[in-house]
Point group: C2
């Protein structure tokens, strides 16, 4: 079992010290052309590539940007696509870390992951939907759609409030009066804002919100299964449901099918996010689109600025949401 080739192997094989090899690798001054050439040759021959780990333990910069996520699902992977485009040509590599592995409990995953990677492996990090944003001043950090509204940390988010109003107004304008709301996670700011937008749009239209019709689905497809069924099994069930994200909207459609309800004839459904899966649904999901990939792009831009030194400026970027009318909304049944 041939082990990986280290700088030592190169040094020995080239007949120089490891320091010299290091200099050659990093293009530092003070190496004779002939020596440099010989070392390069050995590096080539041995297929040597310096270990990111060892290198980063010693030096400050690694030119690697971290994207920390709880898991790879439709939202975070859209962020990744944007981030990937954004780093192109900047000289940074991207490292996405999903660290919910051992520590079971999901809360605080971002703090753990950040601690494990920062100060060493990565030059800075983008936190995707963190729950507990602890302000640390040792690593440049940008949060996307964080737990709390903008605090001392740089953030990128979408106009959740306005988007929720858009969705609710759409349903109201179609003639719906009994509208259900399937919320996300109480600990996420985006979830709170979407509910707030829903309530304010209802109030503005002079409609009351039946507490029975407001449920929590936890932003996950499986988690939304039960509350969706409950909502649709109510004696006086809603004619429309606004789900706080697409995954839960999709779960609601499934539940409707389960219960023999047709969408949109018997039940209208609106989601939030506009992940690729939304348009792939059958019928395609009416939803509030947020520019997720663009959020990734903006986050990387902010992070690169932060790393470049301007860590005193706290920036908040808020992107617009818009309603995308597709096939899951219609006037309520007569």
């Amino acid at each position: 079992m041939r082990s990986r080739v280290t700088i030592n192997d190169v040094a020995r094989s080239a007949g120089v010290s490891v320091a010299t090899v290091s200099k050659v690798i990093n293009g530092r001054y003070g190496v004779a052309a002939a020596t440099s050439e010989r070392v390069q040759e050995v590096i080539e021959r041995l297929g040597y590539e310096s270990s990111l780990v060892a290198r980063s333990l010693r030096s400050q910069r690694t030119n690697v940007l971290g994207i920390l996520v709880a898991e790879f699902e439709p939202f975070s992977t859209e962020i990744l696509k944007g981030a990937s485009r954004a780093v192109e040509g900047t000289g940074f590599d991207l490292l996405a870390y999903s660290g919910s592995g051992h520590s079971g409990g999901s809360v605080g995953w971002e703090r753990r992951s950040l601690s494990r990677l920062s100060g060493t492996l990565i030059d800075g990090a983008v936190l995707v939907t963190p729950t507990v944003v602890e302000v640390r001043d040792d690593v440049p950090v940008v949060a996307i759609d964080p737990h709390r509204g903008p605090t001392g940390i740089a953030t990128v988010d979408a106009d959740n409030d306005a988007g929720a109003v858009l969705a609710t107004e759409h349903l109201i304008s179609l003639g719906h009066r009994r509208i259900g709301f399937l919320g996300g996670r109480a600990d996420l700011e985006s979830s709170r804002l979407r509910e707030e937008g829903f309530r304010s749009a209802m109030a503005a239209a002079g409609l009351s919100v039946d507490p029975e019709l407001v449920r929590v689905g936890g932003y996950k497809r499986e988690g939304a299964d039960r509350p969706a069924h409950e909502l649709l099994s109510l004696p006086d069930r809603p004619t429309a449901v606004f789900a706080a994200n697409d995954l839960m909207a999709l779960a609601t459609i499934d539940a409707a099918e389960d219960l023999g309800l047709r969408v949109p004839e018997d039940l209208s459904v609106v989601g939030f996010d506009d992940v690729p899966e939304a348009v792939a649904a059958n019928p395609p999901l009416t939803t509030v689109a947020q520019p997720i990939q663009q959020m990734g792009v903006e986050a990387i831009g902010l992070l690169v600025d932060l790393i470049a030194g301007r860590d005193d400026v706290t920036e908040h970027i808020r992107l617009r949401t818009r309603l995308v009318e597709r096939g899951t909304t219609a006037p309520p049944p007569a």
Copy 2:
């Protein structure tokens, strides 16, 4: 600027040596209950989390699985979704690395990334669409859709040949005779097989392939732009185009629109992959679906087995493809 808290800080604060702290963290024997408790307390208070980097430099196992990609695009992110589901409950964390950053030239990125991360940071790696699979015996590796067909390395791929036949037969059965082919990258096995499937299906139907109608798009949307335009600007242009992946099929649809051609009335288009973007297209793309997320799941399964010790069994998993008829194919114009 408070720096990250290290094991030294904990040791000092708890009045013990770093060795003892290390033992406590890793649950090693030989620590008094009282001491252990005190150290735990300090760890908690200081919010200490051991550095993955330092830890991995010293020890063999990190419990982190790597997924190495050239960039985060629709295909690789679907793999990530599957992998993310697959690691759940295994105790492994996932680290996705996109390392095309500095080294411009894309060829060999997987070897570089692997060298940079392996032996230290990760216990094993999944290589997504690698171009140069060099068999190294020091790290467990699984390749998804590699450059060459199955060699000594564990691989997961789809039945590219059969899928291409499906697509071509579909077009032929609709009545198309002049069918164009937009190939991927000559250096990828999947690309070669898809072309082969195309050619054999054409031959089986007694149709000849006009060399003019076979172009190379490189699997990327931008790269496919020009060849697509060329194909559709030919004096005797094809009535249908089979693109070797969805991104290029989408580019072909754009090109058609550019040129005033309606899809599918004037031109039929078939893709390959069935990424979420395919169904989101307008009209939704007819394509050959490969179970991409499932490929991620299988790859992780294989990798975990390999890490568990059975590195002598070389396994190849091949998944089925199927045709998904949507809105971009129709009989040729009369």
